[in-house]
Amino acid sequence: MAEIVLMRNFDRPDSHTLTAYRNASGYTAWTKAQTMEPAVLVDEVKKSNLRGLGGAGFPTGMKWSFIPKAHTGPVYLVVNADEGEPGTFKDRYLLEHDPHALIEGMLITARAIRSTLGFVYIRGEYVQPWRRFSAAVKEAYDAGLLGQGFEVVIHRGAGAYICGEETGLLSSLEGKKGWPKIKPPFPAIKGAFGQPTIVNNVETLCCVPPIIQHGAAWFAGLGTKTQGGTRMYSMSGRVKKPGVYEASVSITLRQLIEKAGGVSGTGRLKGVVPGGGSAAILTADEIDVTMDVDGLKNAGTMVGSAGVIVMDESVSIPEALFVLARFYAHESCGQCTPCRESTGWIEKMVHRILEGHGRKDDLDTILDVAKRGGGTTICAFYDGAIGPYISYIEKFRSEFEALCRA
């Protein structure tokens, strides 16, 4: 029986309130953390094998340890609540149903990295989650949890997928267009407003209180050798019971689809996006993979934000690729030439194929353009885009060819 960690409070009445959170032993991890030295907190999270749940899967404790030891100026904690990866909706649930878990995670993290100021960057479209979270922050201030050495500023985005990329987010937080920055320097060295900054995803930070409360070994034991814990899977597309499901990172994709009621539509699976729109597609016979960071990496795709989009046999893969290609063309920030140009041209080419005016060598042109651009840009946006471009065409080539003229 899988353990429920992140969604433990979702079914409680008024789970978003301080009273309900306290009644469920909320803020006891924070009480405990205050007796622990910052370095011990970092070490505990390192040992828990918690890995970032926003997309990149970077070990969280290691990220924290990159804050320069000799730094005496301000250190900022920035929460990435700019959820926008196609097929992902877990952070929305956390902000609406358990905002105090995030605040408690922020308090503990702030102590670990010696930060006195945190920013929570919430996507502009998330009005309801923003209201919920703002109310919880107010409660936390009134209760003296915040404002005693750690302040929280809630910052609303204004509509741009690229601001989910951590350095794009920092540019946006600084009042600029959300252009990603060249790394190094990494944010832990020189981040928001030029100061050392830790950027963590909402769900990642929500894991921190349970880790401190129950111990690193317990959390590590919930997952695989290289990744601890459970995580929230956003299940959508052609499944019978779409929704957010929590399970160990060691669950297989097949088991997850079963958890969500199985394949709907024709009932026969064609393909699955395992980790948000930017993940390479898996075919029906590739779903016996574990959903941890390394499991999906070894399968040639990524777990990303764990947004699972299921497609049954009736779904047109070329059409699905067009929808994603349109998305990448729209959201490319325009800073790097390979991304700005390729996303636009690939969208046009896929559209031409869909309209019945494509040529078979268009497919090779798309693959060539996609592969050339990989690794040439400032951020991972384009590397994310080529995941679908390449995998949809390579794994379902005959479907594309059937639409081409010659």
């Binding site: 301000p74 926008g84 990866e85 196609p86 097929g87 992902t88 909706f89 952070d91 929305r92 100021l117 996507r123 502009g124 479209e125 998330y126 009005v127 309801q128 500023v153 910052h155 609303r156 985005g157 204004a158 509509g159 741009a160 997928y161 946006s172 600084e174 009042g175 600029k176 267009k177 959300g178 928001a192 407003f193 100061q195 956003s234 299940m235 959508s236 597309g237 052609r238 779409p242 929704g243 996006v273 729109g277 947004g307 989009i309 497609m311 779904v315 059409e319 699905a320 067009f322 929808v323 994603l324 349109r326 998305f327 063309a329 729209h330 490319s332 325009g334 636009g344 969208e347 046009k348």
Partner: protein, 189 residues
Amino acid sequence: MSGATPISNGPPAARAGHADPATTNRAEHAAPAPIKFSAEQLAEVRRLQGLYPDKRGALLPVLHMAQDTFGYISLETEAYVAGLFELPPAHVHEVVTFYTLYFQQPKGRHVIAVCHNLSCHLAGAQDILRHLETRLGIRRGETSEDGRVTLQAVECLCACEAAPMAQVNDRYELNLTSEKCDRILQDLR
């Protein structure tokens, strides 16, 4: 930025029933509302600026305030906000044009933003968009003649479990059907 299906952030001015203040002689308008925050709003601007290590950090929140107050963000509004931040107007323009939630043209009294990304697409988002286009007599990216509704097709709003869905002003409207769309339209005055 490119697209076979037009994706537009703001409706064409002519459709919106308003003149574009950027290209029109303001003197032709009867008593145009001055672009100026109230004393209370200016205090809020200063409070927001004080929350960030560099006051420029408050630019996005203040632009949200400006749009809520003036309806959309004209070049005049950009210049006004730039003054509050001691920034060149070009910097504010660069920010306003980067983000999809800032309207550079007058928008309808209500905004319906239908998600057309993958999960919503699989659940019939295009049917929803076509239905709304027919009902409103406009295309996506446009505003109805009476200035009531702006219709948009937008990228993933992250409510894929309830696809197809749309954002109607501040609210997420989930599991849309043609009938539900009609009910929503009826409630928008």
